[in-house]
């Protein structure tokens, strides 16, 4: 129902904008209106510049030769164009491994989250399910109570999830927020379709996999995106659970280590830099930092503009649903 609201809102936005424009064309703008118009555009353009500049600057530094960057003065465009920084980052075994772990947890975590959330959401969307209220309340309560960092940490320890890849997957398997938006979407599906499949003799599993899942693609895409971004961006769980096992480190955590040590003399980055100065490749902490920043955010920057509408839809549903 909430999704329907959001869609209605999106539609009414389109419908409503045109008459407003026509009406305003007739309306004569006063001097004050012009001043506001100019102020508004300047303010918004400033926002755009402040938002984008740091990214552009990091991209420029990452494509600029490392020794040249030290002289400063790289703003929007590389001065001494090179791919060495990227070559170096991907040749560095730790970082490449971290990249693979990041990809693995993003893919596996997202797939499992979507599938499991959808399954539970389907059961609680069934009005006649005897455990419906029990399951719903059990999940919703966890929005308000949680054990906190230390008890969770001790639990992971006793479950043997420390220094294990699965600690990235199990704890966050089903989010209540995801559950609620999928459930409202399924409840909004035409009653007749589910009814028909039942009459045709499909069991609940069959109905779920061949009717509900395919029909829920829009909401599942939204959940997949949120989950994917969450998995890709996670670093805290790596730090507290798996920091002693370098093989399970992720890109974000490697970047965090570089940032944290960037002031100290014996940094990972400067160690890279010293060891990296053999052969043709020359790197510095500065350029490694910029390159890692871009590598760690590139997947999101690249996919995000195309998938923006799913994020926004999810956000609106979440806003209405709490």
């Amino acid at each position: 129902m909430a999704l329907a609201d959001a869609q209605a809102a999106a539609r009414s936005e389109v419908r409503q904008v045109r008459p407003v424009r026509k009406r305003r064309r007739r309306y004569r703008m006063s001097a004050g209106d012009w001043a506001f118009e100019i102020f508004n555009h300047v303010a918004l353009l400033t926002l755009v510049i402040v938002t984008l500049y740091p990214f552009v600057n990091q991209i420029a530094v990452s494509f600029n030769s490392a020794t040249d960057s030290l002289k400063g003065g790289i703003y929007l465009w590389p001065r001494d164009w090179t791919l060495d920084n990227y070559k170096y980052v991907f040749k560095e075994a730790t970082i490449f491994n971290a990249f693979l772990v990041s990809v693995a947890r993003t893919v596996l975590g997202t797939v499992l989250t979507v599938l499991c959330s959808a399954m539970v959401a389907y059961t609680i969307s069934r009005q006649d399910f005897v455990l419906r209220r029990f399951v719903t309340i059990a999940f919703v309560l966890t929005m308000y109570v949680n054990g906190g960092l230390i008890p969770t940490f001790l639990l992971m320890k006793s479950l043997g999830l420390i220094n294990s890849f699965w600690v990235y997957i199990w704890p966050g398997l089903i989010g209540v927020f995801n559950l609620i938006i999928i459930r409202s979407f399924i409840e909004g599906l035409p009653e007749g379709i589910l009814e028909a499949s039942r009459i045709d003799g499909a069991g609940d599993f069959r109905t779920f996999f061949s009717i509900v899942l395919p029909l829920s693609t829009p909401v599942l895409a939204t959940v997949a995106l949120f989950s994917g971004v969450y998995q890709w961006n996670s670093w805290f769980d790596v730090m507290i659970y798996n920091s002693s096992n370098i093989k399970l480190s992720t890109l974000q955590y490697e970047l965090q280590k570089i940032l944290q040590n960037s002031n100290a003399a014996t940094t990972a980055a400067s160690a890279f830099a010293n060891s990296g100065n053999v052969g043709a490749v020359q790197v510095t902490p500065l350029s490694i930092r910029a390159t890692m920043t871009i590598v760690a955010s590139a997947p999101i920057i690249m996919v995000y503009p195309f998938l923006q509408k799913y994020f926004v839809k999810g956000m609106m549903v979440g806003g209405v649903k709490g």
Binding site: L47, Y75, D204, Y253, I301
Partner: protein, 322 residues
């Protein structure tokens, strides 16, 4: 809308609810497919979400992981006594409160202002572009964001460069090295990251406002400011209040990432909050009980705040959470 927010935890009796134990188990057997689809996740939920709640008792113990559950030493409220006499905890509490309120107020004011400005833009393409770009930092991890902020504020970063060029300062400032500046930097960082994203709900609410109201205001001679003030803002009032209440419940969740990632030895007196305190005492120093006590304190305060905010909203006759 209120019902939606109360979720399905509302005690509406299911008309098809079975009566009698025998009937219940028969139903359960008939719906075994749904049971198989949900019960494993209830077990998951119990282990990962409810089991850690047991950990709360360790706040009243002098918990040592090496000892078994029944061999722990019970110390009553001594951990809490220690907290409330600890000078460091008061500093941590002050930082948490200041940054939480900053987060709340600044988040609301900037997002509403930006939404109002965007709402006044008539060139749809320009509006879309500004929106898309302003959402971007929301999807970037805090690790990347912190790296970007550190770079921007570094001695050869763009902020110092510009300030030097305009001649406003004589020598580069060490922004993150001044403890008193941390709250300001924190505020600017959260606004930079989330202002665009936070506008979505307000913009959606603004599209729901009846265009006739604007026309009526125009007839009465209202300019653009008057229309914004007397039509747009009142039109989104209920959304603002619901979000304010919801965010009050999360008030003490002022975040962990920005404070931890931007914090350093020089600004720790203003950057350390309860979450970092818990991490340092609990996981770094293995003083589990004290950390759990701090976590409990935070949860209890959050509950009280949510309750108070909800009651105030009830008094004012506004939409509320429950």
């Amino acid at each position: 809308m209120e019902n939606d927010i109360a979720l399905s935890a509302s005690p509406v009796p299911n008309p098809k609810k079975p009566t009698g134990m025998k009937h219940f188990f028969k139903q359960l057997y008939l719906q075994r497919a749904l049971v198989i689809m949900s019960v494993p996740f209830i077990i998951w939920l119990f282990i990962f979400r409810y089991l850690p709640l047991w950990g709360w008792v360790s706040a009243f113990q002098n918990y040592k992981p090496a000892r078994g559950f029944f061999e722990q030493e019970w110390v009553g409220l001594r951990q809490f006594e220690f907290l409330f006499t600890d000078e460091r905890f008061f500093r941590v509490l002050r930082n948490t409160l200041v940054m939480s309120f900053e987060n709340l107020i600044l988040g609301f004011v900037t997002a509403i202002t930006l939404a109002l400005l965007l709402n006044e833009v008539r060139q749809l393409v320009f509006k879309r572009v500004v929106q898309t770009i302003s959402y971007l930092p929301h999807f970037i991890s805090w690790v990347v964001a912190a790296g970007i902020i550190q770079t921007t504020l570094s001695t050869d970063g763009i902020v110092n460069t510009l300030l030097m060029k305009f001649g406003w300062i004589d020598e580069e400032l060490l922004f993150l090295g001044k403890a008193e500046w941390f709250w300001g930097i924190y505020g600017a960082s959260i606004v930079w990251k989330d202002v665009g994203w936070n506008t979505i709900v307000y913009l959606a609410a603004m599209t729901m406002i009846d265009p006739a109201l604007y026309e009526a205001a125009e007839m009465d001679g209202a300019g653009r400011f008057k229309k914004m003030w007397h039509v747009t803002l009142p039109g989104i009032k209920s959304v603002i209040i619901v979000l304010l209440i919801m965010n009050t419940g999360y008030l003490l969740e002022s975040g962990f990432d920005p404070q931890y990632l931007l914090g350093n030895g020089m600004n720790i007196s203003h950057s350390e909050n309860i979450d970092i305190f818990v991490l340092n005492y609990g996981i770094r120093m293995s003083n589990y009980s004290l950390a759990v006590a701090a976590g409990i304190f935070k949860t209890v305060v959050s509950f009280i705040l949510l309750f108070v905010a909800n009651n105030i909203a009830k008094r004012l006759g506004e939409a509320r959470l429950y």
